[in-house]
Structures are given as C-alpha cells and as structure tokens.
C-alpha cells in the first residue's frame, strides 16, 4: 500500500492530568489509512481523554500530534475537523432539541444565497446519507431526543462520515445498541475501511473490537501497555494486557507494561 509508510495520524507522548490524576500518561499511538486501530482498556483507563485530545475537545498538557507526518496544530474541535478528523463521541454529542438535519450540519450549516439557513437543502442531504446508513430512518423533522438509541447513533455516524473524513474516531460506538444495530456498525466500519478511511475504534470490551481491528493498543491507568497486530496475538493475550497490563511477546510494549521481557 502506498500510504503505509507514513501514518495518517500519530499521537506521540500525549499527557493529560486532571488535578493530580494522570488520566493520560505518555501515551503514543498511530493510525494508518484504511486501518482499524482498536483502543482498549477498562472504564476509566483514559481512552476517551486520549482521543478527545485528538479531536480537539480536550487541550493536551504535552505531546505531539502529526497528520500525514506533519505536526498538526489541534487546539479545538474545529481544527481537528479541518484536518479531516471526525469523531463519534461516546455521549453522541447531539443537540437533543434539534432535528437530524440540524445536528448533522451543526457548525457547518448549508446556507442559501441570501445568507440564511438552507433547511430544505440540509434535509435533502440528510435524507441521502441516511438512506445509505439506515434506510428505515424516517424522522427527519423530529428532535433527536424522540429517536431510539440506534437512530441517534445513525445521526452521529452520518455527521462524522458526511464531510469526507480521513480519520474517524468511534468512542464506544456500540455501547447503547442492540445486537442487530451493533452488526450494522461493524458492517459500516468494514465499508469505511475499504474506502481508505483510518478508524480509531475505542471500546472497553475486547469482543467488540478484536475481529474488526487490524491492530490494538491497550491502555491501563492512563498508560500504554502495548500495541499488537490482532493477527499475531490471541484474545486471551489481549485480555491479559487489559486486565493485568502484561505485554505478550508479539506485542510492542509501552511504558505501562508490567513485564517488559516476558517470554
């Protein structure tokens, strides 16, 4: 693959603490185009804080972010979107009182020639993209708080993929979904991967991620345990990383690994 040598995204030595708590402590991860990178760890491990630094939602204390090998200046959500980094947040981050088109275009509204909101155009675009994502979706005029968990999720996903993302961050995308909807998200992930989009797939549950991901990075107590190709490690080994912080031989250990030279 052509782009394989230069990672799409590199996060190097990222740190963030709240008060005295090191939520993210010298973590480095990277992502290649067309790759699914799983970020695993217990609840409270620091996964969300880590990726929020990438999406511009949280200001990092230190660390470097590179996009296509060049240092990227990401200080707010707008900057991240400018670099083609889109995020589906764990909380979905939808304005509950507004309808699907308003949410999809929030902050990037389509305007008429008069400089006013072009609601019909936004609704038309929303209908198009939702047709692709979730053909059963019909409530284009209802506030999103009136939608089911799966429908809300589709709106959040539509918002992330509509603007031609290069890198997509999905933070616990299936946490609130039923089995069928979970399958839909998995299918979508595979499709987006084929289109060459790099995906950070964040979860506390190994089973959500292992089969989809090309690589996984495991975080424990804010520190990187290690990074491994899913083809080179077993599920049990990754579980060991998550629970014990034990880095298997096939994985590249990080500063959070319990035993660096375990056989």
């Amino acid at each position: 693959m052509q782009g394989s040598n230069t990672p799409l995204i590199e996060m190097i030595d990222m740190c963030k603490s709240f008060g005295g708590v090191h939520a993210v402590d010298h973590v480095s991860v990277d992502l290649y185009p067309g790759e699914v990178m799983g970020i695993l760890g217990h609840n409270g491990a620091g996964k969300t804080v880590l990726i929020k630094m990438l999406s511009g939602a949280i200001k990092r204390d230190s660390g470097t972010i590179k996009v296509n090998g060049e240092v990227a200046n990401i200080n707010n959500p707008r900057d991240a979107k400018h670099y083609g980094i889109e995020t589906i947040y764990q909380t979905l981050a939808l304005a509950d009182n507004q309808d699907a088109p308003a949410n999809l275009f929030l902050g990037r509204e389509l305007m008429t020639g008069w400089g006013t909101l072009d609601d019909v155009a936004m609704e038309a675009e929303t209908r198009k993209v939702m047709n692709r994502l979730n053909p059963n979706f019909a409530k284009f005029k209802a506030p999103v708080k009136a939608l089911s968990g799966g429908q809300r999720q589709s709106v959040a996903i539509a918002r992330a993929i509509y603007f031609n993302a290069k890198a997509l961050i999905m933070d616990e995308p299936t946490a609130a979904l039923g089995p069928q909807e979970t399958k839909q998200v998995a299918d979508l992930t595979i499709q987006l991967k084929k289109e060459g989009i790099g995906i950070f797939l964040i979860s506390h549950d190994l089973h959500d991620v292992f089969d989809l991901a090309d690589r996984v990075s495991v975080i424990k107590n804010g520190r990187l345990v290690g990074t491994a190709r899913t083809s080179e490690v077993t599920k049990d080994e990754v579980l060991g990383m998550i629970i014990l912080g034990k880095c298997p031989a096939a994985a590249t250990p990080g500063p959070g690994a319990l035993e660096r030279d375990a056989a």
Binding site: T87, A95, E109
Partner: protein
C-alpha cells in the same frame, strides 16, 4: 409557521408525508396537514377565553376597540424585551437586569434629547429622536455585552451577574440626574409611545395590513417551492389556503379594530378647526389606526423570529440550549454566542425603554421597576423552557399580551392592585404547570 429549532413544532411535523392520510380524526388530520403549532394555538385559545371572560365580567368594556388598542400599546415594551429573553433563557441563562437597564437607558436617552442635543441643534430638531435612540441602542448593546462577557468568559453565573446589574443600573439611573425626572421628550421621539400622534391613521394601517397579507402569502409560496425543489412531501393545497386565509384574517381584523378607535372628540374638533375641515353631524371620526409602538414591537418580533430560526446565530443559540457540550464539540464558539445573546438583550432593552419613555413623555429613575419579572413571566408563559433549548419568539410576545390582558382586565373590573399581583403570580405558576404537563404528554 415553519418548524425548526423548537421541539414543540417538530412534533406536528414528525411523521413524514406518506403516512399523512391515515385513519385519524378530521381534527388531527387538520393539524397534521397545516403543521400548525398546537401549543401556540392552545395559548391563543386561552387568550380568547380570557378576553371573553373579562368582557363579560366588565360589562362589555374589555372587547372594545379603545381597550384593545390601549392593550396593544401597553404590551409593546414588555413584548419587545421578551423576544430577547427567549434567547437568554433558551441558552439556559436568565437576565434579571432588564428593568433596571431600561431605566438607566431611558434616563440617558432623556438627557440626550432634552438636555444635550438642544445645546447644539436646538429643540425639536428632526434628527433628535434618531440620535437619542441610537445612543440608547449602542449603550444597551454595550451593557449587554458587558454582562455577557462576565457571564461567558469570566464564568460568573448569569443569575448573579444580572442580579448585580439589577441593583447597579437602577443606581446608575438615579445617578444620571441625581434622581430628577427629565421631561418633556422630543416630539418625534414621543411618537414611539403611541397616543393620538403616535398612531399611523386609517389609510397607512390598511396599507401595512395589505403588505403583511402579501408577505404571508409570499412566505407560504416560498416554503412550498423550496420543498418542491427537493421533492419533499407537500402540504395539501387546501391546507396552504387555510393557513393563508387565517393569517390574512388576523392581520386585517387587527387593522379593522385599530381603525375603529377614533380620536377623542375634543382633539378631533381642534384638528378639524386647525385644518378647516367641516365637522359633520354626530361628530368627526378620525381613526387612530395602528400605534407606532405596536408596529415597532411587531417589527422586532419579525426580525427576532428571523434571527432565531433562519440564521446560524439562532441555530447555535438553540443548540447551546439543547446540549452545550455538543455545541462546543461541533465547533461552535459557545462563549461568543452567549455574549452576543446578552448584547441583543441589551439592545432590545433600549428599544423597550424608548417605547416606555416616549409613552410617559418623561424619563424617571424608577422606570421599568419590576419589568424583569413581567418579561420573564411573559417569556415563560409563552412556552420558553427554563431548562433551555426550547422557545419561540411569537410565543413570548403572546405571553406578553396574556400578562397585559390580565392586568388591564382586572383594572377594568376594579380589582385592587394587591389582589392583581396575587392573581398574576398564581396564573404564572399555573401556566407553567400546564405547559409542563403538555410537554410530558408529547
């Protein structure tokens, strides 16, 4: 009425077009086809009941052109400010300072036109009213921006900042002239307060009414062509015609009422004498027509509705109210937006101040006392949720009419003012309770 931003309108339009003709009752079908906001209609219904009740209780003096005309003028100042309060409350804030800001700006505008400008341009200069109003609006914007800055950039809660403003600006209003009342106001400025001169007369009222009707029809047509452009489901054509007919009937009805209120006989006679008009038998009938402050308030309502529903700023205001974190993550500058909301509120205080100062023909340091409570009550009765994210400009203005109707009605019935306050207080609580129940149901 288009449906965006606010949760209550969306309910009516929630079902897509194909499912439209079902086995529902004709009433339900009517509301679905016209996409009318049932909440707003409920309020109009309550208002009509209130009016008829007062009319019966007062022996038929409530629903007279004279009383309705006065009601419209008395509502204007509060109605103007309530449109701004909608945005403030939608962003989960509150502004307790509007009455005091109104008082302070009134004093400044009074001094500007009665003391400062005459030194340079003399009394009754044609530009005086415009300069005084501009000074007021700029000052109001600056005061609002100051409040907004402290609230959104320094992180002091709006309740505290504007509570401070309530005290500080009232004090400042006294300070301007050490408590002295400033009077009279400039003749042109006074037109903003209504009265015989501050009403546009019969002919102009009809012209305004017809223009408004044409605008309603044009808006309906524009909405339809826009939806056709994307092959969206359309309203049935009868629904479009019904909406247009209702809108035009309301407008022309209001004009008719305003035009049926004649000038007082003595003023009309003096006018006739001065202009050499013969006085016919049975007296001279010169219509007031629509009052200038009412036109100002309606104009503000139209502009604010446009801002709230058709601009990015308005959309961000509602998004912030719905979910501040989501707005922030979407890249919206929530702090700046919040500051601007307070700036708009301040500018509207200036317009409200111009109306009430002009109506009184004087600026006093007590002007606007308790207005903050009436404005907030009107806004909340008008369906703006204190939880944020939900509200309409039209609802708030109707809320102002409800508040004023209550007061005027009780005055006509000769109810003592302490009892009036008790009733207004109870009505406020009940109105919000009913609204809460309604929202739970939908």
């Amino acid at each position: 009425m288009s449906s965006h931003n606010n949760a209550e309108t969306a309910g009516a339009a929630a079902t897509p077009g194909k499912a439209r003709s079902g086995t529902r009752s004709p009433v339900a079908r009517f509301f679905q086809a016209t996409e009318l906001d049932t909440r707003l209609l409920g309020m109009i219904g309550a208002l009509i009941v209130l009016w008829i009740g007062f009319d019966i209780a007062s022996g038929g003096v409530f629903l007279t052109p004279r009383n309705l005309w006065n009601l419209s003028v008395q509502t204007s100042s509060i109605a103007v400010m309530s449109t701004g309060m909608v945005l403030v409350i939608v962003t989960r804030n509150i502004d307790l300072s509007v009455g005091s800001v109104l008082g302070f700006i009134g004093m400044i505008m009074g001094v500007t036109q009665a003391i400062e400008i005459p030194q340079y341009l003399g009394y009754e200069h044609p530009a005086t009213w415009a300069i005084a109003l501009a000074v007021g609006v700029v000052l109001g914007g600056a005061i609002g921006m100051l409040h907004g800055y402290v609230i959104s950039y320094l992180g002091v809660p709006a309740f505290i900042v504007t509570l401070g403003g309530l005290l500080a600006w009232r004090g400042a209003a006294w300070w301007v002239t050490s408590g002295r009342t400033v009077a009279p106001m400039d003749g042109n400025f006074k037109l903003m307060g209504g009265g015989v001169d501050g009403a546009v007369g019969a002919t102009a009222s009809w012209i305004i009414g017809i223009v408004a009707c044409l605008a309603i029809i044009a808006l309906l047509r524009y909405g339809r062509t826009q939806r056709q452009r994307f092959n969206f489901p359309l309203r049935p054509i009868w629904a479009e015609f019904t909406l247009g007919a209702i809108g035009c009937a309301v407008v022309l009805g209001a004009v008719t009422v305003a035009n049926s209120y004649p000038w007082p006989r003595r003023i009309a006679e003096r006018y006739a004498e001065a202009n050499g008009i013969p006085i016919p038998e049975g007296g001279l009938f010169i219509s007031h027509g629509l009052a200038v402050p009412v036109l100002v308030a309606l104009g503000v309502g139209v502009v604010m509705t446009f801002v709230a529903t058709r601009t990015k700023f308005g959309r961000y205001v509602f998004a912030i109210g719905g979910n501040p974190e989501a707005a922030e993550l979407a890249g919206i500058n929530t702090r700046r937006t919040t500051m601007l909301v307070f700036m708009v509120m301040g500018m509207l205080c200036a317009i409200g101040s111009a109306i009430s100062t002009a109506r009184l023909n004087a600026a006093t340091n007590a002007q606007g006392t308790l207005d903050e409570l009436y404005v907030i009550a009107a806004t909340v009765i008008g369906g703006t949720s204190l939880a944020g994210g939900v509200g309409t400009i039209a609802g708030a203005m109707l809320g102002a009419v409800v508040m004023q109707s209550l007061q005027s009605g009780m005055v006509l019935m000769g109810i003592d003012s302490p009892l009036q306050n008790i009733v207004v207080g109870i009505v406020l609580v009940i109105a919000v309770w009913v609204d809460t129940m309604y929202r739970k149901r939908t």
